[in-house]
């Protein structure tokens, strides 16, 4: 006795001719702050990708006669030091460029890895339930019950210095070295830190995904799909995963932020990726040793961390708004 209408849609939703993603993109495009931040992020990624081309100096080239130069000063050879120099007279601007590659690369790669682990385990746990769920959930609880920083500390102490013993295929290391613009030898430890961060960063994603998968499982169309003879795997890939994607994307942006910070915190405690491989975190940590004499120093590496992190946060925020089905317009 009712008029067939698009009852499930909110009142003012305009024509549904657009796909859901198109709507999201349209909304996101109009979110000015988010778009600005997106542009900033892309800009940072581009610059970091082009680091070797842009960098005015050698990454590790010290100049003992040009130490602690303040930004915009000119060194004894008449070269402009855009952002000054560090305690060895290495060019801050150059190192920041290379560092952005490692830091951003790590942030994105480790988060990606963590998300992959978290999504897989979360889906498996939520979808199959039973003993799979128990294993995943308990592992999660155990990992989550020990403070992350502590775990990281212990694990990094165990492995750093032995990274050559870790059986990572050479080609992986080479790819990494290329990706992060570091020497192959340095790539080992970068990769290690990435893996460690990922191994302890998946719990939130997994928990979220587990919940999503459970609710999606209950959803009617899964039943329908199963009735049509779809295999478990097919259901997972075709239904559960896409439906859980939007919150995952938001979670991803949060993860990127968290890893950026975790990397710096590790460096602060003297672990993590080591000089001379520059990262924003270890540059910041080095700089803070000199802050009483040169208070501007920690600001230089802190800025990109702040900017990248703000951009990621704002972008994630905008994305969340855009993905929110209740959001009007």
């Amino acid at each position: 006795m009712s008029v067939p209408s698009s009852a499930a849609m909110p009142e003012l939703k305009p024509a549904r001719s657009e796909g859901q993603w198109a709507i999201v993109f349209r909304r996101l495009r109009r979110h000015r702050v988010a778009m600005f931040c997106f542009v900033v992020l892309i800009g940072m990624l581009t610059i970091s990708a082009l680091a070797p081309l842009i960098a005015p100096f050698e990454r590790d080239e010290p100049n003992l006669r040009a130490r602690f130069l303040t930004p915009m000063s000119v060194d004894n050879d008449g070269n402009l030091r855009l952002l000054g120099t560090d305690h060895l007279g290495r060019d801050y601007f150059t190192r920041l460029l290379y560092a952005s590659r490692v830091s951003l690369g790590t942030a994105f790669f480790a988060t990606f890895l963590a998300s992959a682990i978290g999504i897989t385990l979360g889906i498996l746990a939520g979808f199959f339930g039973g003993w799979v769920d128990v294993i995943v959930s308990r592992t999660l609880e155990v990992i989550a019950s020990i403070p992350t920083l502590v775990l990281l500390l212990i694990v990094v102490t165990v492995f750093v210095g032995r990274e050559e013993d870790i059986p990572i295929p050479r080609f992986v290391t080479s790819i990494f070295a290329g990706f992060f613009a570091v020497q192959t030898r340095e790539a080992n430890i970068v990769l290690l830190v990435n893996i460690v961060l990922a191994l302890f960063g998946w719990t939130v994603t997994a928990r979220l995904m587990r919940g999503m998968a459970m609710s999606v499982r209950e959803h009617i169309y899964i039943e329908a799909a199963r009735a049509l003879g779809a295999s478990n795997f097919r259901i997972l890939v075709r239904h559960v995963f896409p439906n859980s994607l939007p919150p995952m994307i938001v979670d991803f942006t949060l993860g990127v932020n968290a890893i950026l910070l975790a990397e710096s915190a590790l460096s602060f405690l003297g672990f993590g990726i080591q000089d001379p491989t520059p990262t924003w975190g270890n540059m910041l940590n080095n700089a803070q040793n000199y802050m009483f004499q040169h208070p501007w120093m920690p600001l230089i590496p802190a800025m990109p961390i702040l900017i990248a992190s703000l951009a990621v946060n704002y972008f994630g925020d905008g994305l969340r708004d855009a993905l929110d089905p209740r959001q009007r317009g």
Binding site: I146, V155, G161, L261, A265, M291, L310
Partner: protein, 398 residues
């Protein structure tokens, strides 16, 4: 309810033991440690302090390194094995190795290598009868500190730091809640207002830099630079002054007085609160936004409920439900302290103790702190679950 509690306790028990065992293994796996330190001390020695096998053995004994790991763990956990069972059974059962055996491997190509393998002198139940052993963590005995406060009970050590961590964390958590909740609410109610944008930016900045950055900049600005400028300044660290000091315009401040302690409290609490507010206000805001869109809020308005009451009574109560999950960790945080902030401000709390213990291989102290942390976290989660059922009638413990 009872079944739930029983099941939960069993679960908590297993998670706690597994987590403890895992940390235990990791801890002993970490490089460094007493034997390394001993050998380090021996480096380039003058002969008089030379360390020989019996010295090594004594250190191994003191740190219980001569036990096999599972026994070491069970001694820590329940104080067993502490000798032959009922004084007689299993006197020759091997639970460890006093002196590891050495095996010389001769390879066909003539290479020779000596490796440690097997056991030269086994550690039997009978031989550990005289050893000092704690009653086991399970019975509330955390044993003795090994390096931080050598041979004194870990409990003494923890109790000496606990008040500082509790006051620091308690105050900052309380302040954070008191500030973050209204900010979150107001941001949500006035979504996209100038206030909201400002708060969002501040919150993002708070979560965009590692905490030590705020700490060192606070010290730089409020202590060093302020003092250099002759302005009233905040002491850079410690929980109380070692002696009286003079603050410009205010005069003499007595060491250990309330004013002294209060001034030293400001920066660490401020930094921690700032960071907490950053995260929590966003959380409350998101949760509140979600709730404000709910039908029952509209119903409340349609009933003629005052807007203030709509927010405070109808929306907030619902918005705070997910916040409970966040607060589940508070109990553990209260105890665990803030690792980095305590270190930066030289706050004599448990967080700093933890880092110190980790660095100096005081396994008993590290494990005690980790263990209590895990237990408190579990309790926190349990309380949160129970709290849920109180706050949200839809949830039942089953």
């Amino acid at each position: 309810m009872t079944t739930f509690l029983i099941r939960r306790f069993v679960q908590m028990f297993f998670v706690t033991v597994v987590a403890a065992f895992l940390s235990f293994i990791l801890l002993y796996l970490a490089p460094g440690g007493p034997i390394d330190e001993l050998r380090g001390a021996q480096r380039q020695n003058d002969g008089m302090s030379r360390v020989d096998q019996t010295d090594v053995q004594r250190v191994r004994e003191r740190f219980e390194l001569d036990f096999y790991l599972p026994f070491r763990f069970s001694r820590w956990l329940i104080g067993w094995p502490s000798g032959p069972i009922f004084g007689a059974i299993g006197a020759d059962w091997q639970v460890g190795c006093s002196i590891p055996g050495q095996v010389r491997l001769v390879y066909p190509d003539g290479r020779v290598e000596i490796i440690e393998e097997g056991c030269e002198v086994p550690l039997t139940l009978a031989s550990i009868e005289d050893r000092r052993v704690s009653n086991g963590v399970f019975f509330g005995d955390f044993g003795l500190s090994q390096t931080i406060l050598r041979d004194r009970p870990v409990m003494t050590l923890i109790m000496s730091r606990l008040p500082y961590t509790l006051s620091l964390m308690g105050t900052s958590i309380l302040l954070s809640i008191l500030i973050a909740v209204p900010i979150g609410i107001y941001s949500a109610v006035r979504q996209y207002s100038r206030f909201d944008y400002t708060m969002t930016t501040i919150a993002f900045i708070g979560s965009s830099l590692p905490s030590f950055v705020f700490g060192i900049f606070a010290i730089l600005i409020f202590s060093i630079l302020a003092q250099r400028a002759g302005l009233p300044y905040l002491p850079s660290g410690n929980a109380s002054g070692a002696r009286d000091w003079v603050m410009p315009y205010f005069g003499r401040i007595e060491a250990g007085s309330l004013v002294d302690r209060g001034l030293r409290f400001i920066m660490p609490v401020g930094v921690l609160t700032f960071i907490n507010i950053a995260g929590w206000s966003r959380f409350i805001r998101a949760s509140m936004l979600e709730v404000l869109q709910q039908d029952y809020v509209r119903t409340a308005r349609a009933k003629g409920v005052k807007e203030r009451m709509v927010i405070i009574k109808h929306a907030l109560r619902n918005a705070l439900i997910p916040f409970i999950t966040l607060l589940a960790g508070v109990l553990a945080a209260l105890f665990g302290g803030a690792l980095i902030t305590e270190a930066v401000f030289n706050w004599p709390g448990l967080g700093r103790l933890f880092i110190d213990a980790l660095g100096r291989h005081d396994y008993n102290v590290v494990m005690a702190l980790l263990f209590v942390n895990v237990v408190l976290l579990m309790i926190g989660i349990l309380i949160a679950d129970i709290l849920y059922t109180i706050v949200d009638p839809r949830i039942r413990l089953s």
